[in-house]
């Protein structure tokens, strides 16, 4: 036990002290925060300005209704649109002239945009928004509704129905999604998706990074030949177990730092986002403790499953080039489970989703996704963990046998037949 502990300690300390570890651990959350905040900051500033707009009404009689419908307000209370003037033109020649003028005004910055309502708009021809910066594209939705309202009002009028206040008539009714959870109802604005995606990404990254770290650690001891000295002092299994635990502890440290900072960012970061974003109404992301705990459990279980495979792969080879080849199958399995995401997202409780998430090699990522999307029945979680445990024990047993022989073998990578023989060596 003491020797095992020494191996764990060395593996842990030499890893967490490297610059690479410190940088990735601290920089990644900061970088993520920056990536999230920066666009909000920029877009937020832009969106705070009232858009000066002109309407060129070639159809005639629509501009007033459109202007009335553009009643959206910015978070600051200012109106989103200011219709500086409307132009109704009697014929094509004037149309062209008016367009030229408006275009010139937009170029000079006197106007932000102008809207052209074509003559045949009632027959379905599209209105066009002419603008300098594409940043105003977000406003197109409001305009679309306004033009649509005007067209409908005109059609109603043509059929003899007169409307006094089209703005009131067409005021839209929103439908918001509310996720029902144990903790109560939470308004859903895509944050569940974000949490599921984020958690799956963290698992995906850590499984791959620490799986490969185990492989490299085994390979390093082999290529530097220190393994010969080590196995003269302890049993290969102690060395393997110490390595797995040591690297696991490093991954765990990083994982905890990331999830805690991610959780803090999601919970309190919303306030930060709000401070920067005058559009306000921050999407409050809530990561339930049960999800954090289960993701840590699945990370640990998944790590031992994959890392022992990676360790065996590392023991099989003698060079980095060969290592690249043997690590492919494991890496593919991890990547594959991530590719199921869109499917699981849409059907978290379908039979296929349940079965896929029970496959031990997919469980860590898929179960975490499912828990984030909609808590699966407890028996499925228990079953997936039990299956993973059994598989992991089996894999560790086989990997240890391969490892024990492999670390002392140099030269050509073993064939599958040779590998099976290794399993029989004493």
């Amino acid at each position: 036990m003491r020797k095992l502990w020494l191996v764990v300690k060395r593996e842990y300390l030499t890893r967490v002290r490297t610059k690479g570890f410190i940088i990735t651990t601290i920089a990644l959350p900061l970088l993520t925060m920056g990536v999230l905040l920066l666009p909000l900051f920029i877009v937020g500033r832009q969106a705070d300005e009232t858009v000066k707009i002109a309407i060129l009404d070639e159809a005639g009689g629509l501009a007033a209704v459109i202007a009335q419908s553009l009643e959206r307000k910015l978070p600051s209370g200012k109106p989103a649109f200011q219709v500086t003037r409307t132009v109704e033109t009697p014929g094509p020649a004037e149309n062209e002239k008016a367009r030229q003028e408006l275009r010139a005004e937009v170029s000079r910055g006197e106007l932000d945009a102008f809207l052209v309502v074509p003559k045949d708009v009632l027959a379905g021809k599209a209105a066009t928004l002419h603008t300098r910066s594409l940043g105003e594209i977000g406003l197109a939705a409001s305009l679309r509704r306004a033009v649509g309202n005007a067209a409908i009002a005109r059609r109603l009028k043509d059929q003899g129905i007169r409307i006094e206040n089209p703005g009131d008539l067409f005021r839209a009714v929103e439908v918001t999604t509310v996720k029902v959870t144990k903790e109560g109802d939470v308004e859903e604005k895509g944050q569940t998706f974000a949490v599921a995606m984020g958690m799956a990404l963290v698992l995906y990254t850590t499984l791959l990074v620490y799986g490969l770290a185990t492989l490299r650690s085994v390979l390093e001891e082999k290529t530097t030949r220190i393994v010969e000295v080590l196995v003269s002092s302890l049993r290969p299994f102690q060395l393997l177990a110490g390595k797995l635990l040591g690297v696991a502890a490093v991954g765990f440290t990083q994982y905890v730092i990331w999830t805690v900072s991610g959780g803090l960012l999601a919970t309190y970061g919303a306030g930060v986002v709000a401070a920067f974003s005058p559009q306000g109404s921050p999407e409050k992301i809530h990561i339930p403790i049960s999800l954090l705990v289960s993701s840590v459990i699945y990370y640990v279980a998944g790590y031992f499953l994959f890392a022992s495979l990676y360790a065996a792969a590392g023991a099989m080879v003698s060079s980095d080039e060969e290592a690249q080849q043997v690590q492919m199958p494991m890496t593919l399995v991890v990547v594959l489970s991530f590719l199921f995401f869109p499917f699981i997202m849409r059907n978290p409780n379908s039979t296929t989703s349940v079965v896929l998430s029970l496959v031990p090699f997919f469980s860590p990522i898929l179960m975490t996704m499912r828990i984030a999307l909609q808590m699966p029945p407890f028996w499925q979680i228990a079953l997936s963990l039990a299956l993973m445990l059994v598989t992991t024990i089996g894999i560790v047993y086989l990997s240890a046998k391969i490892y024990r022989v492999g670390i002392l073998m140099y030269g050509k990578r073993p064939s599958v037949v040779e590998l099976l023989r290794w399993l029989r060596y004493t």
Binding site: T224, I226, S232, S233, L234, T426
Partner: protein
């Protein structure tokens, strides 16, 4: 091979070995009367290859034992079984009177042929780690590592990374790792490779000190001149079997004085006497001549003088171990 091919210059060395009470081996449950290592009909197979084939040998305690053999003879497999890295398929192994086990691992120090330490760790850290793996407390490990780094003139590099050390310095560090726990059984595979004469002498002196304090040393090497000056007894193995074993002096005596060492200048035609000379081994300034059974060395001397060669040395000696090695191994191959 010439006697002085390996010279160890006298170096002033301070004794840094921790003083050990008489009977220290006994305190660890190791009897000094029994053989340090006993292999009894040990066989180890890898698939179709039989690496070690019914090998029996015993190693006297407190002596330097040479484990010799051509490449691929099974030396490393044998050593690994003694260290319990491999388990024999057949036969039994006793290390210091007990069956090879996890416990006996701590009683063995090992310097592998291919040196290896963690390249990115500091010298002191690696050595403390390896010492602790041999069962020393962290404090005791640190203390001893400090002493040994002083003794092997590495103290200035203690906080440097292994990768920054020269090859020779890395070897000295590796040697410290092998002896740090003053093992009753020390296994050294090519310990002098890459060491300059001063450092080689340092390492040799420490080996002999350990032996004098009761440690048994297994020396595995291809350098026969090292074996001649250091080993008390040897075992020569080939294809996994022992082909020559015993006390080195008696082995050489059993061959008798059948070799002439001659240093001369002038024509060497006097050696062209197939009736008297079996083979000639030329070293440039000197030759070693293996005589046919019953050949009179005087006849060769006479021929040399009559042909005008100027003789500065003419000596009848026992065959060098190098020749015995070649003869025995080629006998088996024939």
């Amino acid at each position: 091979m010439l006697e002085n091919a390996l010279t160890f210059p006298a170096v002033d060395v301070r004794t840094a070995l921790p003083a050990r009470k008489p009977g220290w081996l006994h305190d660890q449950g190791i009897g000094t009367h029994m053989d340090a290592v006993v292999l009894e009909k040990v066989t180890k197979r890898f698939d179709s290859l039989t690496a070690v084939d019914g090998l029996s040998l015993s190693i006297r305690p407190g002596a330097v034992f040479g484990l010799l053999g051509p490449n691929g003879a099974g030396k490393t497999t044998t050593l690994r079984m003694i260290m319990r890295v491999l388990v024999p398929d057949e036969g039994s192994i006793l290390v210091l009177g007990q069956p090879a086990s996890d416990r006996t691992q701590d009683l063995i120090g090992y310097l592998p042929e291919e040196r290896g330490l963690y390249p990115r760790m500091k010298v002191r850290e690696v050595l403390v780690f390896l010492a602790a793996l041999k069962g020393l407390s962290e404090r005791e490990s640190t203390r001893r590592v400090g002493q040994w780094l002083e003794r092997l003139v590495l103290a200035a590099w203690a906080e440097k990374k292994i990768i920054d050390l020269s090859k020779g310095m890395q070897q000295k560090a590796q040697f410290i790792a092998a002896i740090i726990h003053t093992p009753p059984l020390l296994i050294l595979d090519e310990p002098f490779t890459g060491l300059d004469p001063v450092n080689a002498a340092l390492v040799k002196d420490i080996m002999l000190e350990l032996r004098d304090q009761g440690s048994t040393i297994i020396l595995s090497t291809h350098r026969m001149e090292q074996v001649e000056v250091m080993c008390d007894s040897i075992c020569l193995i080939n294809k996994g079997r022992s082909i020559l074993a015993g006390d080195l002096r008696s082995i050489k005596q059993s061959y008798g004085k059948n070799t002439l060492r001659i240093e001369y200048s002038g024509q060497g035609d006097f050696l062209e006497q197939p009736a008297l000379v079996e083979s000639v081994n030329r070293f440039g300034a000197a030759v070693e001549v293996k005589l046919r059974p019953g050949a009179d060395p005087q006849e060769i001397l006479r021929a040399a003088v009559s042909q005008g060669a100027r003789i500065s040395r003419f000596e009848l000696i026992e065959p060098p171990l190098n020749d015995i090695f070649i003869e025995k191994v080629s006998e088996v191959h024939a």
